[in-house]
Subunit: 143 residues, 2 copies
DNA sequence: ATAGTTGCAAAAGTTTTGCATTGTA
DNA sequence: TACAATGCAAAACTTTTGCAACTAT
């Protein structure tokens, strides 16, 4: 009775479908990581937090694989990488148009719905460059 | 004749004044770093690029001291830290209200004047938090 | 069978730290 | 002289890499 006898089939099935759509082989590790990442609502993880979280479910995935997978998911459009801290990257399961509050001291990232924020007046980039995306980070702190 | 016999006095004097105003002791290393940082127009450096640059002037400053100094300058309001790359921090000599283009592949940061960009609709932060500053990064790439 | 994945450990790179030494005021 | 600042080397971390072993198709 050490392991969960019945993992919710739906979750795995959804994860597998999601991976297939993204053109990624549904390996055990990817299915597990996708399950953890996408079964609950929008969330932000770091490589290490995700690694720890998966470890607690009893599944073993190496940290290197977590990094690889996070980058693969990002390239496939399943995740969005958010860089707000000099020391580590965050990966956001919400790939839609939105921005973030960042509580520096706590390393905490909070979503700001995309509709609420508007950035106006972005000048044309220098010749030869085109805009990829616009990131807004509202740095906040505890009162 | 290995060393410059007459460093521009003005630069040092200005740097010393700037440091005194910021409440920082004008040590040889700080004066040198401030001289390099502030004598030309606005610029962006990383700890390593600044360390290399200073080394080329013949002055020896340890990398650890460069890191310390960059953070001291930032706390004193002389620099602004810009985090756009997962691997390294940039320090901007322009502390005024402005934003950046970032060419990811080249690690290149380009200023966007503050007046041109406007961010509207930033919601009130969650209870207990107050806005420190708003960073906008326009990620661009070569065509 | 084969091409894609994973794990492990080691490497690489940036940033921080501890402590003896030095320098500023 | 006292206290702040520096240098050095080592430590701490995150992230990447190389290669043998494994696995999905």
């Amino acid at each position: 009775m050490a392991k969960a006898l019945r993992e919710p089939k739906d979750t795995s099935a959804q994860a597998i479908a999601r991976l297939r759509e993204a053109g990624l082989r549904p390996t055990r590790q990817r299915v597990e990581l996708a399950g953890v990442l996408f079964q609950s609502g929008d969330r932000h993880v770091t490589a290490e937090s995700l690694h720890d979280e998966v470890a607690q479910t009893g599944v073993k995935v190496s940290l290197a694989t977590v990094y690889n997978t996070l980058h693969q998911f990002t390239e496939a459009g399943l995740l969005r990488q958010v860089i707000v801290d000099a020391a580590r990257s965050y990966f956001d399961t919400n790939t839609g148009d939105h921005q973030h509050f960042f509580v520096e001291k706590e390393g905490l990232l909070i979503d700001i719905p995309g509709e609420s924020i508007a950035v106006a007046g972005v000048p044309a980039p220098p010749a030869g460059l085109s805009v990829d995306r616009v990131d807004v980070v509202v740095r906040v702190r505890r009162n």
